[in-house]
């Protein structure tokens, strides 16, 4: 009986998540009247703005991931190694982006870094891109920090650090050659989450007036019928592809199997 209810709950869950996706996908294929086709997808791919905004968001994702890794890995490592008492404070700080709306953050940025401020980042495209990258880094902070912190939990940070120190290694060598490779899967998981966030983010990019993928999706959604669901399916495929890549990396990373 318990087994029956368990299967029932599982099937209900599957239907709950899959039905809208199936519906959306089916609708995206109905652009041609009376038959299924990939016309909506073709229209999306033929639109130059898709490629421009998508590549722009990809570049900013990469920049966000680099900044996030450079910020989070040393911080999480240092907190684990030297300041364990500061962990609750750091965790609280990294959770703030979840409760402070993106619109508040971006207005704060605009106020602080406008053209009449001491650091007029919004005065140039590059400056605004830097500002947007910092904003994305903030938004991705809860996910990146948690991923890296979980990764660090699986290794004996203190002993590995001391072992490396006793062999003559300095902090940069320890971080780059011992800590980072051992939390690489966690970093990648944080990186893919960051990618997903950046690709879908609308508020910051729209208010900073940058040609990102999020505003393009919104624009398309407001003006077209069949292309938006096609775009959504493409975005899902990209996200799932990233998750698949994560699994592959874990599988092929030989030493990671030891932790499993």
């Amino acid at each position: 009986m318990t087994r029956f209810f368990a299967w029932g709950a599982f099937l209900f869950g599957c239907l709950y998540f899959l039905l809208p996706l199936v519906g959306m996908t089916e609708f995206s294929l109905k652009m041609r009247r009376g038959e299924y086709s990939f016309d909506a997808y073709r229209r999306v791919f033929e639109d130059q703005r898709f490629w421009d905004t998508f590549s722009y968001s990809l570049i900013l994702s990469a920049a966000t991931i680099v900044v996030g890794v450079l910020l989070v890995v040393p911080t999480a490592y240092w907190v684990r190694l030297k300041l364990p008492q500061a962990r609750p404070v750091i965790e609280f700080i990294t959770l703030l982006p979840l409760v402070i709306p993106a619109i508040v953050i971006v207005f704060g940025y605009i106020r602080l870094y406008n053209t009449s401020s001491f650091l007029p980042l919004t005065g140039s495209a590059l400056g605004t891109d830097i500002l947007l990258t910092m904003g994305y880094t903030t938004l991705a902070l809860p996910y990146m920090y948690r991923s890296v912190d979980t990764g660090l939990r699986t290794i004996d940070v203190t002993t590995l650090t001391e072992a490396a120190q006793s062999l003559g290694a300095g902090w940069i060598t320890i971080l780059a050659r011992i800590i980072l490779p051992n939390v690489m899967v966690a970093v990648l998981s944080g990186a893919f989450l960051t990618l997903a966030i950046v690709l879908g983010e609308f508020t910051m990019a729209a208010l900073l007036n940058r040609p990102a993928f999020g505003p393009f999706m919104q624009l398309l959604g407001a003006n077209r019928a069949y292309e938006p669901p096609a775009l959504a399916v493409i975005a899902f495929a990209i996200t799932w592809g990233c998750m698949g890549l994560m699994q592959l990396v874990t599988r092929f990373s030989k030493h990671e199997r030891a932790k499993a």
Binding site: D156, A164, Q165, L167, G168, H255, A258
Partner: protein
């Protein structure tokens, strides 16, 4: 001048003085064990030598150079940890080569040294494996090779055998000692296992409450403990109260029989009571011609341990342990039986402090 010196070392964590006025000189090539119970400060002393803790007071020199303020990565020490601490992302060979790579040694030199070290620990064909593919004993041997590869001036061993099973422990400790002697490397070994310390050390430092209670060769520590703590901590001890008969000659009385203690003249007056102790093997089963006294004991328990049989017995009003060798033609006494026990005053340890 000694190769490694620790002078008046102190370490204070908050309100807690973990190490108090600890001084020790270690000669080049010597194998020293820091032995003591948990919390006695032995690991803190080791960590101060390694550079992972800075002393609150005192100084450390290695080969005449003051290293007290030097960072851990500038001290040229090799260290083995209880938890192996092999780098999981690197192969065995890469682990061993790590220290050399950090020092900027050329690849050819690194490869040659790695091969030499792996041959030394008997794992020449496992260079391509990852740590998780090795047993605990193999991992610890790799950790030893890794620590030795950059030719450190001092080797520090922080309870490296604690996580291993009994058989591997014995074989690895012998291998560590053999390699240490072969390379002539000055070594400090931290352990709470007295048997381990006694079997491989040139000298043992018995630590208690942050101070060195006694420093000496294993034979001296075991047979002539200077404090009650050392006597109790190292080996099993039977304690008796004896009455002083003649302090000048060291003559005392136990259960009506006269014994002459080796520590004469005694710092006590005639008629006073002294605490003395005997190791289980100094109580000998049967009537022996060279014994000073012969007492009767009632057997309360028998533990057959293979080559040795440990008896528990009531002797002169005290519960004692008595060790005797197993002889295939003589079965051990049965519980409840009365046995004769021979003892001599020269085997007694006078307990102070």
């Amino acid at each position: 001048m000694s190769f490694l010196t620790m002078t008046h070392l102190e370490k204070i964590f908050g309100q807690n003085r973990v190490v108090k006025d600890f001084s020790l000189s270690v000669e080049k090539g010597e194998f020293i064990s820091l032995l003591g119970p948990s919390g006695c400060g032995k690991t803190t002393v080791l960590r101060m030598v390694a550079g992972f803790e800075s002393p609150s007071a005192g100084g450390i020199t290695i080969d005449g150079k003051d290293v007290t303020g030097l960072k851990a990565n500038s001290r040229n020490i090799g260290m083995m940890f209880q938890a192996y601490a092999l780098f999981p992302n690197m192969t065995v060979a890469d682990n061993v080569a790590f220290g050399l790579k950090v020092k900027g040694a050329p690849k050819a030199e690194r490869d040659a040294r790695v091969a030499e070290m792996l041959a030394l620990i008997g794992l020449a064909d496992l260079g391509g494996r990852f740590p998780f593919q090795l047993s605990g004993g193999q991992q610890q041997r790799v950790a030893l090779a890794r620590a030795l590869a950059p030719r450190p001036s001092v080797l520090l061993l922080d309870e490296p055998l604690s996580a291993l099973d009994a058989k591997v422990r014995v074989s690895l400790r012998n291998q560590i000692r053999q390699i240490q002697q072969e390379l002539g490397i000055t070594t400090i070994f931290v352990t709470h296992d007295q048997e381990e310390a006694m079997s491989i050390s040139d000298r043992i430092v018995v630590m208690n409450g942050g101070v060195a209670d006694q420093v000496g060769a294993p034979f001296e520590i075991y047979n002539r403990p200077r404090t009650r703590f050392v006597a109790n901590f190292v080996g099993t001890l039977n304690t008796f109260e004896v009455e002083v008969a003649d302090p000048a000659s060291g003559r005392v009385m136990l259960a009506g029989q006269g014994l002459t203690l080796p520590d004469a003249p005694l710092a006590a007056r005639a008629g006073e009571t002294l605490s003395v102790a005997l190791r289980p093997e100094a109580l000998r089963l049967g009537r022996l011609p060279d014994a000073e006294a012969l007492l009767t004991a009632k057997v309360t328990d028998v533990h057959f341990m293979g080559s040795v049989i440990r008896l528990k017995a009531d002797l002169a009003g005290a519960a004692v342990s008595l060790d005797t060798f197993n002889r295939p033609d003589t079965p051990p006494p049965v519980v409840g039986s009365e046995v004769e026990v021979s003892l001599s005053g020269r085997d007694f340890i006078l307990l102070q402090a």
